[in-house]
Subunit: 433 residues, 2 copies
């Protein structure tokens, strides 16, 4: 009998239970690949008595992290407890004790990724985190291994299932944000406190991780400009559709020369774009490489078993490395220093919806303002409003720099004939199709 | 100065030129990852004088394969010459001389994959072939590494760009097969002799490779049932659309318990299925795993630079292994012996279009025949034909075994009231949505 490899689990919630299930149910396949059984030796929990989603020997449960972090027989630690500061301490201790790490913790990796990866490297340990971005989709591997020879110039991701579910339902049924959010909470697609999802923060963490790997440059969470979905109205979705677009919460990372931009915002995609068809709770990451062109990775972005698949696949990689004695050698440190684009260097097309006084010459004045900044239009719609003194103008611009566009917005707001800028969104994915 | 790693190229056609370009243009990124420069030491060609798509020092070109296969300074060989028997000999010789191999050759891998992989393993050599399936899409890595912990139960692939281009144009414009084929040839999306594409053979080779990896079972080309696109009529596409389906040439590999089915055929997918939106020359592989659920990998299926990206990414993997001294250790031999499903074990829904005599009771008789075999219907259309003595019936069945369905087809053909079975196709992707 070959000796089993022992692992410890930090956490036994939704994802942790999935990990236990996969290791049990797929033991044969795992053993065929790594040549020995995988034994879960200890599981850190907060409450021993709590009812679990998975049946597990109570003797494996512990309240004491040292029973995992300091057990010399444990080779690898799977972190599925969440949290940031305490978790960081635990993982640093595990690495100091030469334990390999697999984590699903995007919050942690987005904030302390470089520190943890450096600690892993010092201790000849692997630290893998495929599950931290887009659940079951093997996108980090796709970027790091599959496209290792290419130069990635753009990443666009639908990397938050909750907001994609909400936007899909709003678009399909013409329902209001609050109503769909309630439905999503009832169905378990949104948490009781959905703020980190709907504010875009969750997506921003994932984009920091993706951009760091895709551009080989340390991108911090603070570098990501974030806007959430809470202000999107039914009108915005109605006009998007009318103009041939689909609204998605898009994580965007783009590179021109040495400089990059990383952001998360609701954006309009042309209906035929591969990302426009990614619906409900699904995730997808679209990758544009200089040589490969367009590729896309699609799948479930969350959920117990999909996320656990990514974790156990990472564990298989750790254990294969262990057999070959090459742990801690696969990470490649960032090649470039970080250079962020300034607003004058960020170019995009914009959708803007304005309420204006219904007077002669208003549209002429507005288009003149854009023209003075060298910005033309792709699409123009003017419609009457219920209040007959005002009308609604919807414009889609040609490409403009963010600096020019912000300047235009400021001036528009100061115009007496403009009642208000109702909304504005970036339009993405058109130049590439 | 770190010593360069030397490689040899067999072939300098479309893909070979792409490999040379990527190694030149991305030398910095490659060097950052593998820690030393990559030097192309020799390139086997058929004609030294021929004009090339890439500028290359003529002294590197050779007509003599031994200058690559027997040069002890060459560490890895990239095979982009195509062909089968001679190529097999070359690669076996290269492996015997301890050279690692990267190949894009699906014909070779579908026929002689197991032999070549065994030879690689004996010689502690890597043999990678990501580029052989779906060009720039890192699907083999996705299956082998990304989903290593899961049990794959179904693979559906649009893995031939030529036929996908033809079917997309036929569907969009309502044009006839021959007309679109001519257009595809003019645009370079179909070869002068398109037979291996349109017959489904090319897709079958790729499915043999995908099924072998996905199911960990040696699937031979001869195990793949193949039907091409040459018989698809404009009527078939018209009715498909009317019933809410999109026609695609689908490579299908499915597993129930220990038994598998691998086939290539035109099939109808519901319009909302992720594969239904894969258009023109693009490829995609949809993977269904027990734990992960649905995932899809999308991208360019062919072309000089996309295919070369996959090759050079494989080369990076070889060279990283070389640095760690672990070449030849990553291949996992098939876990299961091959068990193919019998017709009674293959279940699907079918679309069938029949011309029948326009008489009372005909539809009743036909539906009765299906009912006698326990097969019901999802959708039924009956329409008059120009020839008023006949009418057209289009049926979509519920799930039936292939044995029952073939039996029904035989009996239908013997019915005096049936003028002819115009066409029949599998309907896929409905049970999973």
């Amino acid at each position: 009998m070959v000796k089993a490899i022992s692992i410890g689990l930090l956490g036994l919630g939704t994802v942790g239970s999935g990990v236990v299930k996969i290791i049990e149910n797929h033991q044969d396949k795992l053993m065929h690949q790594i040549g020995c059984p995988i034994l879960i030796k200890k599981v850190l929990v907060k409450d021993i008595e709590k009812e679990r989603r998975v049946s597990i020997d109570e003797n494996l449960l512990t309240l004491n992290p040292s029973e995992i972090l300091e057990d010399p027989e444990i080779d690898a630690v799977i972190e599925v407890m969440g949290g940031i500061e305490l978790t960081r301490e635990y993982l640093l201790k595990a690495l100091a004790n030469n334990k390999h790490i697999v984590t699903a913790n995007k919050d942690l990796m987005a904030l302390h990724g470089p520190e943890l990866l450096a600690a892993a490297s010092r201790n000849n340990c692997d630290l893998f985190y495929e599950a931290s971005v887009a659940g079951g989709i093997p996108i980090l591997r796709g970027l790091v291994d599959g496209l290792s020879s290419d130069r990635i110039t753009k990443l666009m991701g639908i990397v938050n299932g909750t907001t994609n579910f909400i936007l899909t339902k709003m678009s399909k049924n013409g329902s209001a944000y609050e109503e769909v959010l309630r439905e999503a909470q009832e169905l378990g697609f949104a948490e009781a406190d959905p703020s980190s999802d709907v504010s875009g923060l969750d997506a921003a963490r994932k984009m920091a991780i993706l951009a760091t790997l895709g551009f080989s440059m340390n991108i911090d969470l603070a570098d990501v400009k974030v806007r959430g979905i809470t202000e999107i109205s039914e009108e915005d979705l109605k006009y998007s559709k009318k103009l041939g677009y689909t609204m998605k919460l898009i994580g965007l990372a783009s590179r021109d020369g040495d400089k990059v931009e990383v952001s998360v915002q609701p954006a309009l995609l042309p209906e035929g774009h591969p990302l426009a068809g990614v619906n409900n709770e699904y995730n997808a990451v679209y990758v544009y490489g200089e040589a490969v062109g367009e590729t896309m990775f699609y799948g479930p972005g969350a959920g117990s078993l999909p996320t656990a698949t990514a974790i156990v696949s990472d564990l298989v990689a750790v254990l294969k490395n262990l057999r070959l004695g090459v742990n801690g050698k696969s990470a490649v440190s960032p090649q470039f220093s970080k250079l962020l684009k300034k607003p004058a260097e960020i170019f995009a097309k914009y959708f803007i919806r304005i309420h204006v006084k219904d007077e002669v010459g208003v549209l002429a004045n507005i288009t003149l303002l854009f023209a003075e900044h060298g910005v033309g239009f792709d699409k123009i719609l003017q419609l009457p409003l219920k209040d007959k003194d005002y009308s609604e103008i919807v414009l889609v611009t040609h490409t403009a720099s963010l600096r020019d566009y912000e300047c235009i917005l400021q001036k528009l707001e100061s115009y007496e004939m403009v009642k208000g800028i109702e909304s504005t969104y970036r339009v993405e994915g058109e130049n590439i199709l």
